[in-house]
């Protein structure tokens, strides 16, 4: 740690009791105390930008057959083609610019990962909250199902489902949701059980508010922190899982290549020493997953009230 940041930290500790901070402000200042986490957020922002604006910032449209030329296949990184285009990260077997393919792949990978994480979060959250709130039979039935599912690895569940229903973006999202909702349900239930016994819930019950209102307006906001942490980490997991499934040939179809499919396509060229077709998409995948995981780790530290800060 450099002296400047030490001074900054000291300054923050001196200032804190004097200046009233909003909860969000406190959270942000805690979060950005870690330089690694700050860097991870910055990197993730860049990745998100690339994924969203891929069609506008890519050197070429890798799936436009008018642009892609087989003559340019298997170019080395940095090589220039005859029509003057530079392949910064080389090209693949069909003559696609790897950089553009990676940009488009990020779009698919992130889209599938985030989408499935959000849906799984919503389902898991609702199920977990109802289990904790209603208790008794409902709770034990739901938790039996959750335990049963968690005793099987997510990859196996997704693999089997996809082998029955086939390939496709919608299908892989469904498979990922089914494979992951139980993690959310368990997390939400655990923290909701603690919150449920607190007095504000009792007060809300005495006011004769509806179950729905109590669960979603009173209970939910208080179980959000752990849910956000699990959501972040599970998003990274979903992206990795999707890549793995696509690599195994049961995930996305060739028409919508994610990073996993790009890596898989490069596999056959790797044995002849053409490393870049698999290597660079892998690096992109790695940076994405690591940055999300680092953000998740920092969120866990910041949002955990038990940890002395």
């Amino acid at each position: 740690m450099s002296t400047t940041s030490e001074v900054a930290t000291q300054a923050a500790t001196i200032v804190r009791p004097v200046r009233e901070q909003t909860p969000v402000g406190r959270f942000l200042s805690d979060f950005f105390e870690s330089r690694i986490a700050t860097a991870a957020v910055a990197v993730f922002a860049v990745i998100l930008f690339v994924a969203i604006f891929a069609p506008w910032i890519s050197p070429q449209d890798p799936y436009d057959l008018m642009v892609v030329d087989v003559m340019n296949s298997r170019m080395q990184p940095g090589e220039k083609s005859l029509d003057g285009m530079t392949f910064v990260l080389g090209s693949d077997g069909a003559g696609r610019d790897m950089l553009s393919a990676i940009f488009y792949g990020l779009r698919t990978s992130l889209g599938v990962g985030v989408m499935s994480a959000i849906i799984a979060l919503c389902i898991g959250m609702t199920v977990g909250l109802s289990a904790a709130y209603f208790g008794g039979r409902t709770d034990s039935l739901i938790m039996r199902i959750v335990d049963l599912q968690l005793s099987f690895p997510a990859i196996l569940i997704a693999l089997i489902l996809l082998s029955i229903v086939g390939k496709g973006v919608d299908k892989i999202i469904i498979a990922l949701v089914i494979a992951q909702w139980a993690y959310y349900a368990r997390t939400v239930r655990a923290s909701a059980l603690v919150e449920r016994r607190k007095e504000y819930i009792e007060a809300a019950t005495c006011l004769a508010l509806s179950h729905r209102r109590i669960v979603f307006r009173h209970l939910l906001p208080n179980v959000l922190p752990p849910l956000i942490v699990v959501g972040t980490l599970q998003t990274a997991h979903a992206i990795s899982l999707e890549a793995t499934l696509s690599f195994l040939g049961v995930g996305l179809p060739q028409t919508e290549p994610s990073l996993g499919l790009l890596i898989s396509n490069g596999f056959e060229y790797m044995l002849s020493g053409k490393y870049w077709i698999s290597f660079f998409p892998g690096i992109a995948l790695l940076i994405t997953i690591v940055s999300i995981n680092l953000v998740g780790d920092q969120l866990r530290d910041v949002l955990n009230p038990r940890l002395e800060r």
Binding site: S151, I160, F247, F267, F279
Partner: protein, 325 residues
């Protein structure tokens, strides 16, 4: 103790029953059993004969009964591709997968625990920080990509180790194993390391967290005050107490390793049951897929049962809590 084990066995039987229902209805309701279990290249007469043989012309509850009886007899259908019973195909490939999974497990334990204990004893040293950074990387790296990179570096660029297959195998108690020959070991090293990497990171984290907690306990202070050597304190007193979480998690993760072997086996063309599954999915050889599913489910239930029982022996509190509730 016997009350606990009986309860757990009964619970497992219920799970087996539920899973058999799920698999049966997954095949028969969600999918079309005629498509899934009968060779699409068969002619009309064969299809009719197969429908009768599988009992698909009967009401659904009778069909389920057929399915259970056949499964109990070990008949899980015939592979379209190999024209052999699916169960036999899978059992033939199981030793290869088990060898890979166990080697990976052993690697994870023997590398992970020492590193984790070290990082726990000296949390602020540079080496510990490197170990922990490495473990984050181990968590984040997708297994299949690491496998590809291993092949690229060690097989293609350096040419030290072979990249595919199982190498020379020898027979040990009637099972073909490759760790007894030099060639087999060379083939085993990369896939096993690839599969071990994720679990290694997990073991490092568990061992570190455990060590940090245990090191502050009074009995460790007492052991040190008694004048025991540092190595004895760490090897006996610390190790014993961090083993409970490590053993449980590893037991539960054994299933995960077998599941993830699918990925490693595909990358390294390791002739195990995971590779068979992927090949079968791609060739639409569904009886093998269904049989794989059934066997894996059974295997997981047995593993979970064993972990629960071992855990209850290691930590009696679990057993008592369960019986009381």
């Amino acid at each position: 103790m016997s009350v606990f084990i009986t309860r757990r066995v009964l619970q497992s039987l219920v799970v087996v029953f539920v899973m058999s229902l799920l698999v049966f209805f997954g095949v028969n309701i969600v999918g079309d059993p005629i498509d899934m279990l009968i060779n699409p290249e068969a002619d009309q007469e064969d299809i009719e004969a197969a429908i009768r043989a599988l009992g698909l012309d009967r009401p659904i509850h009778e069909q389920y009964w057929y399915f259970v009886v056949n499964a109990l007899k070990g008949d899980l259908g015939k592979s379209f591709i190999f024209a052999e019973p699916a169960l036999k195909l899978i059992l033939q490939r199981m030793p290869a997968t088990m060898e890979l999974a166990l080697t990976a497990m052993i690697m994870a334990i023997f590398v992970g625990i020492p590193l984790g204990v070290f990082a726990g004893l000296r949390p602020n040293s540079k080496i510990s920080k490197t170990i922990m950074a490495g473990s984050i990387l181990g968590f984040s790296l997708p297994t299949f990509w690491v496998g590809l990179m291993f092949i690229m570096i060690f097989a293609v660029m350096l040419g030290w180790l072979p990249s595919t297959g199982r190498g020379e195998t020898t027979s040990l108690f009637g099972i073909q194993v490759s760790f007894l020959t030099w060639d087999g070991l060379r083939h085993l090293l990369l896939p096993a390391l690839n599969l071990a990497l994720f679990k290694m990171s997990l073991v490092i984290r568990l061992a570190r967290a455990g060590t940090r907690e245990v090191a502050l306990q009074d009995y460790i202070k007492f052991a040190r005050a008694k004048g025991l050597s540092s190595s004895r304190v760490v090897l006996v007193h610390v190790m014993k107490n961090i083993m409970i979480p490590v053993v449980t998690v590893l037991g539960l993760e054994l299933g995960g390793v077998i599941a993830f072997a699918v990925v490693t086996e595909t990358v390294f063309a390791w002739p195990g049951m995971g590779k068979l599954l992927i090949d079968s999915i791609q060739l639409l050889d569904r009886p093998v897929v269904v049989a794989y599913l059934m066997i894996t489910v059974l295997m997981f239930i047995v593993i979970n049962l064993m972990v629960d029982v071992i855990y209850s022996i290691l930590d009696p509190r679990v057993r008592l809590k369960d019986v009381k509730s």
